[in-house]
Structure formats: C-alpha cells, structure tokens
C-alpha cells in the first residue's frame, strides 16, 4: 500500500516539477513603484507564458506588503526599499494586486 501511494505522489510531483521547469529559457522583467500609497503605473504589462521578475519599489517611508491572490504571492517591502518577486509563467489575463497594509492601494499586471 505504501509503495503504491509513494508512486502516485512521486508521479504527481514529477509532472508538477516538469511544469515548473518547462519555461525556464526566457524571462521578462517589469517594475512597479509605490508612492503616496498609489501604484505607479497602476497597470503594468508583461508577456504571457514566460517567467516574470517583478521589481517593487516602495518610494514611501512606510512599509508596504505587495500581495496578489491571482499571482499567489505576498512580500513585505520596507519603506524606501525594493523587493523582487519571481512569478511563474502566466496565462494571458489580468492579475490584480494590492498593498495589504493599505488595501485601497491597488493595481494590475496584464499579460498578453
């Protein structure tokens, strides 16, 4: 029984691992800033289906937490600091994000 279960789990993780690695050859980089608790620009663009390096610059003195349910990431960025978030290859679409410390601060990443 344990052997069968182990094989099922191994197969699931091998398939998943393949999905993670298949698009590792290309990547894109985008930057968004936060100033006066507003994302600048409020909408950023990136190519679909390639890994994305998202640089978040916090130009306010207060810390912020970049968060997105659809991107499945959260990261605290210190005041006057910056953070780098590595995103998986995304299907074409619109992915909303916000500052979890100031929830009215909202923006979106659009992939095409």
């Amino acid at each position: 029984m344990i052997g069968t279960i182990a094989r099922i789990l191994l197969a699931a993780f091998v398939v998943g691992g393949t999905c993670l690695c298949v698009n590792a050859q290309q990547s894109a980089s985008v930057t968004v800033s936060v100033k006066n608790h507003r994302f600048q620009p409020a909408e950023i663009h990136a190519p679909a289906n390639v890994p994305i390096e998202l640089r978040v610059k916090n130009l306010d003195s207060a810390p912020m937490e970049f968060e997105s349910v659809s991107l499945r990431v959260e990261k605290v960025v210190t005041g006057n600091g910056e953070g780098i978030i590595r995103l998986r290859p995304l299907a074409p679409g619109r992915y909303e994000f916000f500052d979890d410390f100031h929830q009215e601060t909202r923006g979106a990443l659009v992939t095409k």
């Binding site: 968060e67 349910v69 299907a91 074409p92 929830q103």
Partner: protein, 315 residues
C-alpha cells in the same frame, strides 16, 4: 422546520422532517454572524476582489494553495455528533501551521487534540476525556490553475496522520492513516459564485484495537462531494454542500460495510485583512449499514451529524 432568508430578504419556512433542529440553530447562528459582519463591513467600492477558495466550501476543500511567502496559524475543529442511541460527541482539533514556499505547493502540519463525551452508546464505552491525540502533516500541490480562459482549478493533497487516541471510541490506540484528495473548484461567476468538489480516498490502520493480538485492523473510506458557495458581500460566502461517503474494511475498498450522505450549510467570513473563519454543518440524511438490514441511516461508521469550525490568522 426552520426559517431561512431568500435572495430578496424575505423569511421563508423550510420544511424538512429529516433536517435536525441543530442544523436550524447552526443556520440561524450563521445568519446572525453574517448580519454582524455585514454591518461592520465598510467597503467603499464593490470590493469583490480575487479570493482564495480553499476554505469557502465547508468540509469540501477548494483548490487554493495560499500565497508564496504566506504563513498561517489556525485552529480547526471537527465534531462528530450523535449515534443511534445514548449521547455521543467526538471532536478533533488541529493546531495547524501552514506555509506556502512557492506558487504551487503548500504544507501544513501540527498536533491534534481530541475530546470524547460518550454515554450509553451501544458498543462504545462511556468516556469523558480530552487528550493530545496525534500529529498530522499535509502537502498540497496545484496541478491546474485558474486563468482567464479556464475557470477550473485542481489541487492534489496528501495528508498522513498518526493517532494515539481512536477517533470513534476515544480509547488509546496506535493508528496510522493517509488521506488523499483531489480538490477542484470552478468559478461560475467572477469572484462571486464557485462550485467545489472533492474526491476522497482515506486509508488507515489501527494496531490491535481490541488488545487480542489481532495485528493491524485496516479500513478505508471513499467519498465525493459537491459544494456551491456564493459571496453575498465582499467578506462573506454562504453555501451548501453534499458528501457521499463509503466505508470499507481493508485498505483498498476490500469489503463494503456501509455508506452515508451528508448535506448542510457552509459559511466563510473574512474577519480582517489577516484573519478569517469558516464553519459548516453536515447532517446525515441517508445511509446504510450492512450489519443493520433495512437501516436508513448509518451509525456504525458515521454519526448523525458533523460540524466544522476554523479560525485562522495569517502572518
């Protein structure tokens, strides 16, 4: 019979001879909670943003695996209530630490605490105890993610457990189990209405439970669920779910011993930016125990009802 509110805000009577009074109490309590939260909700705009679906379906789990970098502590209690006779209450609480190291995988682990209040139940000893009852871990892996072109998301989960207290009787045992699930959900209306479904396979073994030198006693459960959850205000989901469960002796569905159908309401409420609660009540509405010919409910392997309550804080 109990009262419920329809979509226009009118109170309606729900007649159900098999719907227990306790379910009505749970529904009313859920309604009061929703009203309280709705009253305190101060959303300036429509506020129906993206939502994590893992906990919005009650006992049915959604596909969510959390956010990379997110950590969470929660108390999750599941109570099983009522047998054919006497007084029966058994609960198990997970003191759960959950973390998401990347955008596909989530881990959970923690100790288990159980309570048993058993009096005059056939085939069970009277008991009244509270104990550290074991330990669990869980790994969840997102195999299909939702996108603009596909409203379906699917996650696989595996949950090994060790118990030193028998979940049903409360007696000291050595029990090992593994629960495998397919957690799927479908977004029917963007950020508002979701359909969830689980496929369940659970195998467990208990070493010599009757202390007669009989070795490991093995059993398994298979199940399927369907749940609908609607977001009535930005911070609150209400819904209903149904579970069909089949119990077998043996690890791989070897000998069928009985089945049961549970149905009931569900509630999910975001209590703040970093806190939420979820509650569900399932009542057994149909069942069959192969050892009780003609039975219409199954109290051999299942209980009259079950309840779930979870409070979680993210950090």
């Amino acid at each position: 019979m109990c009262l419920n509110m329809d979509g226009d805000g009118n109170l309606k009577k729900i007649a159900s001879s098999r719907f227990p009074r306790t379910s009505c109490i749970a529904l009313i309590a859920a309604g009061v909670s929703i009203a309280a939260i709705a009253g305190s909700s101060a959303q300036g705009q429509d506020g129906f943003y993206d939502v994590e679906t893992k906990y919005i379906f009650g006992f049915t789990e959604g596909s969510g695996v959390g956010l990379e970098g997110e950590k969470e502590f929660s108390l999750e209690s599941i109570a099983r209530i009522g047998k054919a006779d006497g007084r029966y209450w058994a609960s198990e609480t997970k003191l759960e630490y959950e973390f998401t190291p990347n955008q596909y995988i989530q881990f959970e682990l923690g100790p288990l605490v159980s309570t048993h209040v058993i009096k005059d139940v056939t085939d069970l000893e009277n008991r009244n105890n509270l104990a550290m009852s074991g330990f669990f871990g869980e790994v969840r892996y997102l195999v299909l993610e939702r996108s603009a072109s596909s409203p379906l998301a699917i996650t696989l989960s595996a949950e090994p457990e060790w118990h030193r207290i028998d979940e049903t009787s409360g007696a000291r045992v050595t029990n090992l189990g593994l629960e495998l699930k397919v957690n799927a959900d479908l977004e029917l209306i963007k950020n508002r209405l979701f359909l969830g479904s689980n496929l369940l396979y659970e195998a467990e073994g208990t070493r010599d439970p009757d202390h007669i030198g009989a070795g490991w006693e093995k059993e398994s459960i298979g199940g399927v669920s369907a749940a609908l959850s609607y977001r009535i205000i930005p911070s609150v989901f209400v819904g209903a779910e149904a579970w069909y469960l089949r119990h077998y002796d043996g690890s791989f569905f070897n000998a069928f011993t009985g089945d049961a159908i549970f149905v009931g309401p569900t509630l999910y409420a975001q209590l703040g930016p970093k806190a939420f609660m979820t509650a569900a009540w399932n009542a057994q509405v149909s069942g069959h125990d192969v050892e009780v010919p003609g039975s219409t409910l199954n109290f051999g392997e299942f209980t009259r009802s079950r309840a779930k309550l979870k409070f979680a804080v993210e950090f």
